[in-house]
Amino acid sequence: MSQHHRVVKAPRMQARVSLEDVSALARGCAVLGTGGGGDVRPAAVAARGAIREYGEVPLVRLDELPGDALVLPLSGIGAPTVSNEMIQSADEPLHIRDEIERIFGRPPAAVMSSEIGGGNGVSPVAWAARLGLPLLDADAMGRAFPEVQMVSMYVAGIPANLVVMADVLGNVVTIRPVDGLWSERIARAVCVASGSSALMADYVLTAAECAGAVIEGTVGRAIAIGRATEGAQDPLAALEAELGAVRLVTGKLTDLERRTTGGFARGTVTIEGTGGDRGRKLTLEIQNENLVAIEDGVVRAMVPDLITVVDSQTATAVQTESLRYGQRVTVLAWPCDPLWRTPKGLETAGPRAFGYDLDYVPVEAIETAGSAA
């Protein structure tokens, strides 16, 4: 895998997440959500509220933490309809922190987002503020994925042997599963008993273990993505440049077929080119996230590379559930983190992990081959 396509660019000077950073972070997380990852808006409200009450959140790089410092990856689990109605208790992160301290004999040193894409990339700001902890500038996906084993720690071979969950009433459950599958199965059951919404820490690990097992720089990157489009003359061009993305098509959404199977919102979206792209036609295959982009029977980009649909005017990311006929959109695709391009990474979250009988080809390789042809 050539290094010049690494997602992580040079280290940024983003040292903290301030009140003013939250909207840029939310915009960026929506872009990295590739259509999924949950709504960023309620998460941004919670993050702003927590910063107002508890102060700005320091953003730390992995190399700034001592090797034995505990990193706490946090994510919400449950049904979005429920979490938007029965909003989290402010104390859920505290309960998890206390339990971790009981188990490890020391408190966690930093919070990490399990999934930078969508609302789960924004909420950790609120949790870190509440805990008075810094936020690690990293996450476990570099994007959004629908299943719990689709995390960098799994790809790196770290065992899923501890899950700690807290609910709105303060019930705390510690699970010591035998593997990732049981981790998912038991966590879901606990979540249902807790009213279908809970906060969860899994893969609690030391800073030393994090090296090579998390995707670094993604919080700063999300903020930079959000900033790039704010007040830009041409937000779309600015976003494209910031991402280093390939513009697959600019056009109009002309067909949208949705089906719900196996708990996933699946669908096929057709975008017909307009303006300079007139006469072209791109279809997107969706399972919660945008997974495969096809034009004239040829795949132009596929998971785990990132494919995001944005409003052509504002460059705001459009979530899969908000796609509607007639929208003027542009489809962008850009390379995933190199971790996902390893054999274990592709086995975990490559096209076949989602049921597509496709050999993975990196988006930039497809693009080069296409323009050479």
């Binding site: 808006r41 049904a79 938007n84 109605e85 029965m86 009433l169």
Partner: protein, 515 residues
Amino acid sequence: MSGGAGVTGRLRIGIDVGGTNTDAVVLDEADRVLAKAKRPTSPDVTEGLRAALDAVLGEVAEPTLVTRVMLGTTHATNAILERRALGRVAVLRLGAPATTSVPPLSDWPEDLRKTVSAGAAIVGGGHFVDGRPIAPLDADAVRRFLGGTPADAVAVTGVFSPATADQENEVAEIVRAELGEVPVSLSHEIGSLGLMERENATVLNAALYGVAREVTTALQAVLDARGLRVETFFAQNDGTLMAVGYAARYPVLTIGSGPANSIRGAAYLSGVPDAIVADVGGTSTDLGVLVSGFPRESAAAVEIGGVTTNFRMPDILSIALGGGTVVGQEPRSVGYRIAREALVFGGATPTMTDAAVAGGRGVVGTHPVPDEWRDRLADAVRRIDELVADAVDRVALGRADRPLVAVGGGAFLLPDELPGVPEVIRPEHAEVANAVGAAIALASGRLETIVPAAGGGNHRATLIDKARQEAAARAVAAGADPASVQIVELSEIPLSYLPEPAVRLHVKAAGPLAR
């Protein structure tokens, strides 16, 4: 136009207070337009209302035959946008220890929060999605909060109250016992699932009680001055009416009634139940879709004055094209100065009105279009057609079998042929379609709750039946004739990741006003 001699039977007046104009119409029992008037909307809203009402009443031979007045007004919207005349609200949420991560009014603009909030508390209570209580209602905490928080009104929002409303009702009883006449807004009567958005709408509603009193008093004064003894109704955001007593309790529902009225009015005037409606004003054109006589509703969250709510508002696409829009400088519009500044009125500013006149689409103004402008205005006509065709395509969602009904003062700007519509209909009285829409509207009630998914057996059937009855009861409370109320909408949205399969049930009932 004449309300000439020989008119018998009861009359009614529809009024729509818009951003630029206040329109009024008088309709007879057969829904024929007997009189119409357009007056500038005044800064205080009420003067414009009085002027429009006086104008139409002056045309009617027997004003005493008027028995009903239907008002669609921007009073509530303006009050929120201008932070004017808003009441101070004690904001109570039932849900602790849940929901404490996002306190009430967290996402409100600072100035609006300061204006409206008398204080907020999250007390023990609320329900889980399956109906179990999160905590018993902490009635002592409710009393302590009420005692320590003097306010003009109280807003109560319980977690999952749209499915389980008993705790909110219990709090209403406590407020009555403790504070007597202080009005209470209960969230389950106002919004649907989504705590923050429903709470926001409930607090706005509580803040608007004073504005609602102001409007009803002003309207009553105008009517009394004319010696009219009438029933009054208010238009709401879904294109239906509520009796004045009901509107006084749910003033927030009047927000967004303007577009709904014009869509409903267009439906009536054209006689078409399914259509695309374009309302062309001075600064913009609003496009909406008429589905079985009602406006199609928006799926997106609606922001009012910087506050997010989950109202079901008409799905409107606004484009910067109006009669006063300056050619080549969209979205700039000369607005009400069009009668001075447009070329056809002898002015120096080329407007879309000039373009339409030059293109032979209408005869407006006092001056011919100067020849040196011909080429640029021809380009502008093509621009109009391009903008409208694009907007029609956006709202049509792929269907090309519905006509376009053109209404509003600037309807003549629109072409007679457009891609994606078989026909452009220009009904008589189109310029006052919104006031007509207010006058002919039905009364409605709606309800949202959670029920088991299909296969849920008798319990599910009972719950759905109960929901239908409650929606119908709400329509009757809003003024509908109990004998002719019908369920006009019943939709189920599946919920994911729940212990038992469940759906979100939405029911709407509507019917003509009781005679």
